[in-house]
Structure formats: C-alpha cells, structure tokens
Amino acid sequence: MVEFLKEVPSIRFMALRRWWYVISAAVVVASIVLVMVRGLNLTVDFTGGLVFEVGFSQPVDLEEVRASLAAGGIEDFQVRTYGTASELEVRLPPAATGAADADARRVIGALRSIDPTVRLNRTESVGPQVSQQLGQQAALALLMTLLLVLIYIAFRFRWRFGVGSLVASLHDPIVAVGAIALLGIPFDLNVVAALLTILGYSVNDTVVIFDRIRERFKSMRKAEPAEVIDRAINETLARTIIVSGCALSSVIFLAVLGGETLRGFAVALAIGIVIGTYSSIYVAGAIALDLGASARDFMPPEKRGDVDDLP
C-alpha cells in the first residue's frame, strides 16, 4: 500500500485554535484593507468601458503606440501588453452606450500608422447601464448561495455546524479576493466563477470533515468534544492532503499552460484551494466547537414510553 500517512496522526488541532483564529482574523482584515486601499484590478465587466485587444505582426514599442493613439485623437486611453510583446490591450473609459464600432475603427485606424496589418483580436465594451448590474447580480448570487448552504448544513448537522461552515465559506472568498488584489490579477466575471468554485470546494471539504465529526460523536460518546473533532480531522487528513494536492496540481497546470485568458482564473483557484483546505480544518471545525458542539447534537431524540403510544 502506498500511503502518505502510515498511521492515523494524532495532531491536536483544536488546542491551537485560538492562535489560528487570530491569524485568520488578521488575514481577513488584511484582505479587506488591501481591497479597500489598493483596490481590485476591475475589468470592464464591472467598471464599464471598452477594451480592444490588438495584434501586431511583430513586437511594438508601447510609447510609439501611445503616441499614435494620441495622434489619432483618442483620449484617456490605457495601453498594456497582453501575453506577448506583439499583442496589446487598449482600454478606453465608458461611453454613453455600449456600442464599440466607432471607437474600434478609430483605434485600429490610429494603429495602422505603426503596422498596416494590425488586427483587432477582441473587443469588449460594457455600457454603464450594464456594468453596475453585473456586479450586483454576481454579489446577489453569491449571497443567496451562502444562505442556502448555511440552511442545508444547519439542517443536516445542527446550527453550530451551519455557522461554522458559513464563516469558513465567507472566509475563503474574502481571503482569495485579498490575494487577487495583492497580485493585481484582473478581476472579471470569470474570476467570479473562480470564487464560486472556491466556495464550492470549501463547502465540500467542510462537509467531509463534518461528516466524520458527526460519525465520531456517535461512536465516541464519552470523549471530550475537542478530542472527537481532532480525531475526525486526523482520520480524514490523508484524504484532505491527497484531494487538495490533486486539485492544486490540476489548476497549476491550467495556470501555466492554459494561456492568458485562463491564467487569472486558475491562479485564483489555486489560492482558493489552499485557503479552503486550511479553513475547513481550522475555521469550520473550531467555530462549531466553540459554539458548543457536542455528542448531544447527534443523539436520536429521547423516546417516550412505548406503552403510551399504543392506542
């Protein structure tokens, strides 16, 4: 048998939980501060505006591109390379509507002075009417999902566990968003999908550990709750390591080989997997414990005398 852990380890996770609370809280606060101070690298999906991805036949000088755009009468533009040195992204501020054709013609017209064969590979134009709504809609979807997960877990595992998983599920996307802000990864709708994936992943991890906790509470009735939770986490540790390792390796391949469009998405996922693994061990279980989770949560309700129920 190939095994990572020959014996079930007996790490006392719960003993150190106060320290992890402090660290988690600090990371969450740091993430929020980072997002507020540094801000997210929001794409046109959320800010509105226009983006043109243009391809030249050979590498071009950014300054030259800026000069020719300015000469073409285009204002308030931003230029950055996209992938290779011969591909650029030109971004313009939001206009009154989301129509892009007139601006596309002007931008391409201006860039022809550098390279007559310049191609327009991608256009994204989001009007102010849409951008605000896209953000609101994504946030609403996220909130409703969290609420539903809370209700389901509370229903299946008692409320203490529901709260534990909710805190873990909130913790993970917040820290992931903080990491995205730190790394300056463009925040678009695909990254929102990545955040949702992180959420799903974290919930899955939490449920697996909770399931083992539930089982151990039933079989180890005399033990202390902290001991039971530690035991459950230790027993599932091999599985946790293997699953997280597999998932992490997959998204790293996606990040390295998947191309420019997938990169931000994959990096966000990788960050989320690491955080999700940690949080289901420390955040979810520990909060349930401190809210007073015990074997009583999973006892069958006491039966009344059989005789009384007979007709």
């Binding site: 190939v2 989301g98 999908a193 994936t197």
Partner: protein, 615 residues
C-alpha cells in the same frame, strides 16, 4: 462470490453506451470553416459549389471539403485558420455581394453520427470566437410614444366631432383634456370611448375636463409589446445573416442579448441589426398582370412591383393607406372561429382605412414590410451614410367589409397568423433600442483558448490518473475509468440539453471532477481503514461505500443547491458555471456511487474468495 443485480448492470451499461454515443462527436474536434449563404436565401446548386471549390484551389487555399447543409448553406472546411481567412477575402472579392460569409468552425465528426442526429456540444463565444450584443429597449420611451399618440388622436377625434377644446396635454401617465364648453364633457367622453373602448377616465376630474389614464396593465402591455417587437425584428435580421447557431433571447427586464458565433466583421453585423422596420398598407392592382410586369421590368403607371415572401410577384398601387407608424397593435387570435390577426390603427390611419375600404369592397389589400438600413461608405475620403431598403409583401387579403381603425385579417393557418402578427408588430413604430454591451472575440483568440485550455486539462488529467493508479493500484484504475466516464457523461448531458460550454463552464467541470476524485478517495480511504481494522475484503468494500455515502451525498446536494441558486440569480458567465456544476454533480454522484461499485464487482465479484484487495 458476490452477486450484482443483472438489471442494474444492464441499465448501467446502457447509460454508459448512450453517454458514449452522445459524447463521441466531440472527440473529432472542429476545423476552421467558412459558411456561405446566398443573399436571396436560395439554395446553392452543384455547379456553384464546384465553382467555389475550384476558385479556392486555384488561389492556393484549397478547402478540405466543400458541401451544402440541409438549410441550403454552403460550408467550406480548411486545415488552417490562415487558409480560412484568405479564402474569405477571396470569395468576398470574387463574388462580390452575392453571399453572406461567416467565419465559423465545422465538426469533423463522420457522416453516420450526423445522420443519427448526434452533434458536438456547442461552444460559448469565449471559446469559439464570435460576437455578443446586448440591446436595451427604451420601454419608458415606448410608453411616452403611446401617450403622445393618444394626445394627437384625441385632438383629431374631438376636432372631427366638432367639440372645441382648450387644451389636450400629456401629464404623467395620463392625457388631460380641457373643453371650452363644460356641458360637452359627456359628448366628448362618448367620442373618445368610440375611438378606444378600453380607455378609463378619472372619476374626480374637475368640471369641463376629462382625464384618460393609462392603466398599469396598459403600461405593462405596451412595455411587453416594445420588447417583443424588438426581439422579433432582431430575430429576423439575425436569421438574414445566414449564420448557424445564432441566439436571440430576452435578458432580464428590458434587455435583449444577441449571440452571433464566428462572424468577424463586427460593424457589418451591428449595421444589419440596427435596421429600422416599418409597414405600408396598400391596395393591390388587379387590372394588370404582375408576371408581365416582372418579365418586362416595367410596372404600369401608378403601381409598383413587389414580391411576396414566396417569391411570387404582385403589383401594388402607389398610394399608401397607412404606415407602420400608425399601427398601434397587432395580435393573433387563434380561438375565435377561424384563426385571425386583429390589427389596430390610430385615428389618422383609421380614417384613411375607412375611406379606402368603403370604395374598394371585395378588392385585395396588401401589407408591405420594409426594412431600411444605413450603410456608411467612404466617398472621396469622407464617410457618408447611404440608406438602403428591402421591401417584401407579407400579406394579401380581400377587403370583406367597411372598417376603420380596428380590423381582422383572416384566411390564415395558425402558423401564418402568428408569423404575420409578429411581423406587423415588428413593423410598428419601434421602441428605441441602444447597445449596452458588445463583445467580439476573434476566432484566433477562441481557438487559442481551446487549444491551450484543452492541453492543460489533458496534462493535468494524465498526472492525476497516473497518481491514482500509483496510489490505489487496481482501485485507482477503477477510479480513473469512473472519472473518464464522468467527464463523458457531462459532455453528453451538455450536448443533450443544448447548453454551450464556456470558460466558466470549464470551471464548473473542474470543480465537479475535483469532487468526483474526492468521492472516490473518500471511499478508498475508508476501505483501507476498514481493512486495517481487520475487516474481510468484501466487508471492507461494503463498509467503505456505506460509510462514505453520507459525506458524498451531503457535499453533492449542497453543490447542486448552490448551482440551482446561481442559475436562478446569475446571468451570463455565472449561469454557464451553474449549468455545468449541476450536470456535473448528477454525473459524479452516479459514477462514484454506482459506477465504481459495479466495476469493483466486475474485478472481484467472480472470484470464489478474495484474499487481498489491490488498493
């Protein structure tokens, strides 16, 4: 020896085979292609097909295959995107203006799969390239139009009835009338009710005045009309592009999303979709032969030659009875005896209609559908706008009675009636629309996303599969087979539901495959644990599945619920994610719990005694 119920095995095999067949067309992949449709919507004849194929060969960009599809479009498949682009330029210059050309991808699946009706799943615009346009319908503007028309018509009705008014004005959602003579209020109300019996008047209006308010229902109806009208118009124009797999759908309250895969000339699409439609009601000229006019190319004095939708010519009188601007509503009523389309015009149109029908009883009247487009062309280095219009007769019906602003068109089948009502509405005074979102993804970008994304996923998959075999031996192999089946099932389900695969959709698949791996690992770790505790192999297997079940079920149910919520509240990319997530959960529950157990039975079930498990 352990028994596995036969019916379960057969059912399982049947599902896997079906999934395999449904997923198979995706295996062959797609190649870059051009799709041509004739501007006159006719089919391609074999000679043209050969001519185009030869022209491509002569120009050094040979097509792998040139063929026509069931909808009369011509497809040319290429080995490289480079050839595809050159071929497009060639066809554009050689056969100028004859064809609508779209850059697209064609499936490489063999013919027998196509005849079975099995097609590869469609890819979202982010993966295949194409264009997304989101229009916002100005529904408030549409209501304002309605109020202005009421105001205008009230004036005319009162004038015609010789009732003098001081003022007729729009105030909020109502039209306010102040009469010169307070005694004529009842007479005025009668006149206006005759114009539109559905008007409601405010009971507490001051003496000498009338206030006709739009009911909430009327406002809603007008808004729905404005959106439906624009959807129909956009659908018509998108179909005219001749591109396969286009989508026009309502999005939220007042938006319409249009997806056109594969097209590259974005501004042409925007221009074609931005046409303005209108209608003209005209009398048919019955004294001259339209065929004769068509042959000679000369229409008799005072008439014009038109074509009906089926291509037959018809001569119409030059005088216009009413136009689309005067059309208030057109609706199909299937239930009342025979199918009919009821049409409602405004006062001006009604007057003209009354006069015409009185004089032309039992003569035919036609409705012409006109679409105008504004084209920008370069003339002497300057952009100038040229208006072009397309005219088509959508209905010819005999006048069976004298009528004014309310009438029915009968003698139609249900399908014809629905279509006519739609076209009439599309030609009514249009509620203004603006583009609020426009995304164009070049085919090379889409192709790049696919090639790189697929390569990354395949490598990641191989590493994962290798690890599972190394770590869990025979059971790892079983898990690998189960995971492959899982992906195959998701692809088959996507194809069956006609859902397009997008980048966020791939995220959904990654997540569900991740949880499917997790499900298998949970079961196997559990089996190992049981073995360590001294359980016999079969007892360990059964206990492994039974004990892991609640964890797998709970996590999958949670994810399915989350997918459902995201589907309901999300839009666009979030929805794409939700769809694959939900389908993936179903597939992974099935494969991990039922499929992998069946395979274990297959591997160990026949042996009389199982000494050791290769786990």
């Amino acid at each position: 020896m352990q028994r596995y119920p036969l019916w379960k095995g057969v059912l399982l095999a049947a599902i896997v085979v079906a999934a395999f067949l449904f997923a198979l067309p995706n295996w062959y992949g797609e190649s870059p292609a051009l799709q041509l449709s004739r501007r006159d919507r006719a089919e391609f004849d074999p000679a043209t097909v050969t001519a185009i194929a030869d022209a491509l060969k002569a120009a050094g960009v040979p097509a792998q295959e040139v063929y026509t599809d069931d909808d009369g479009r011509l497809w040319a498949r290429f080995t490289q995107v480079d050839h595809q682009l050159k071929a497009r330029d060639l066809i554009q210059s050689r056969f100028e203006g004859q064809y609508a050309i779209a850059l697209t991808n064609a499936s490489r699946a063999p013919e027998w799969l196509n005849t079975l009706g099995l097609e590869p799943m469609s890819l979202g615009l982010d993966l295949r390239g194409g264009m997304l346009l989101v229009y916002e319908v100005d529904t408030d503007g549409a209501v304002a139009q309605l109020l202005q028309r009421l105001e205008r018509d009230f004036r005319k009705e009162l004038r015609d009835a010789r009732i003098q008014y001081q003022e007729v004005a729009v105030a909020g959602l109502s039209v306010h009338v102040t009469l010169r003579d307070a005694g004529q209020v009842d007479a005025a109300r009668k006149v206006l009710l005759a114009y539109d019996p559905q008007l409601t008047f405010a009971p507490d209006a001051p003496p000498g005045t009338l206030t006709a308010a739009l009911t909430e229902a009327a406002v809603k109806e007008r808004q729905a009309f404005a959106i439906q009208q624009n959807i129909t118009a956009l659908e018509n124009r998108v179909n005219a592009l001749g591109v396969a797999e286009t989508v026009v759908q309502r999005q939220g309250q007042n938006r319409i999303a249009v997806q056109v895969p594969g097209v590259q000339d974005a501004s042409e699409v925007v221009r074609l979709l931005g046409k303005v439609a209108t209608l003209e009601f005209r009398l048919v000229e019955t004294t001259a032969s339209p065929l004769e006019a068509e042959r000679t190319g000369r229409a008799p004095l005072g008439t014009r030659l038109y074509k009906q939708r089926d291509g037959t010519p018809v001569l119409l009188k030059r005088d216009v009875i009413a136009t689309g601007e005067q059309l208030i509503d057109a609706s199909f009523a299937p239930a009342q005896g025979e199918p009919s389309v009821s049409v409602k015009l405004d006062s001006r149109g009604g007057d003209e209609m009354l006069r015409t029908t009185r004089e032309n009883l039992n003569k035919p009247m036609a409705v012409v559908f006109i679409e105008k487009e504004r084209e920008l062309a370069m003339r002497d280095g300057r952009e100038v706008a040229i208006d072009r219009s397309k005219e088509e007769v959508i209905s010819v019906a005999t006048i069976r009675g004298v009528f004014s602003n309310n009438f029915q068109i009968t003698g139609l089948s249900a399908a014809e009636g629905t279509e006519l009502a739609k076209l009439l509405r599309a030609g009514a005074l249009a509620a203004p629309i603006i583009i609020v979102e426009q995304r164009v993804i070049g085919p090379s970008v889409g192709q790049d996303n696919i090639t790189k994304g697929t390569r990354a996923l395949v490598i990641a998959g191989l590493v994962l599969f290798g690890f599972m075999i190394l770590y869990y031996k025979v059971f790892g192999l079983i898990a690998d087979i189960v995971l492959l089946t899982n992906v195959m099932l998701i692809i088959a389900l996507l194809g069956m539901f006609g859902a397009a695969l997008t980048l966020p959709g791939i995220a959904g698949i990654v997540l569900t495959v991740g949880t499917a791996v997790d499900a298998n690992i949970l079961i196997y770790e559990r089996i190992r644990e049981e073995l360590k505790n001294g359980a016999s192999p079969w007892a360990a297997i059964n206990a492994g599945f039974d004990n892991a079940f609640s964890a797998i079920a709970d996590s999958n149910v949670t994810m399915f619920l989350a997918g459902g919520v995201l589907f309901l509240f999300g839009s666009g990319p979030v929805r794409g994610f939700a769809v694959t997530l939900m389908l993936g959960v179903v597939a992974s529950m099935f494969t991990a719990l039922i499929g992998s157990r069946a395979l274990i039975f297959l591997a160990y079930g026949r042996r009389r005694r199982v000494e050791r498990l290769a786990i």
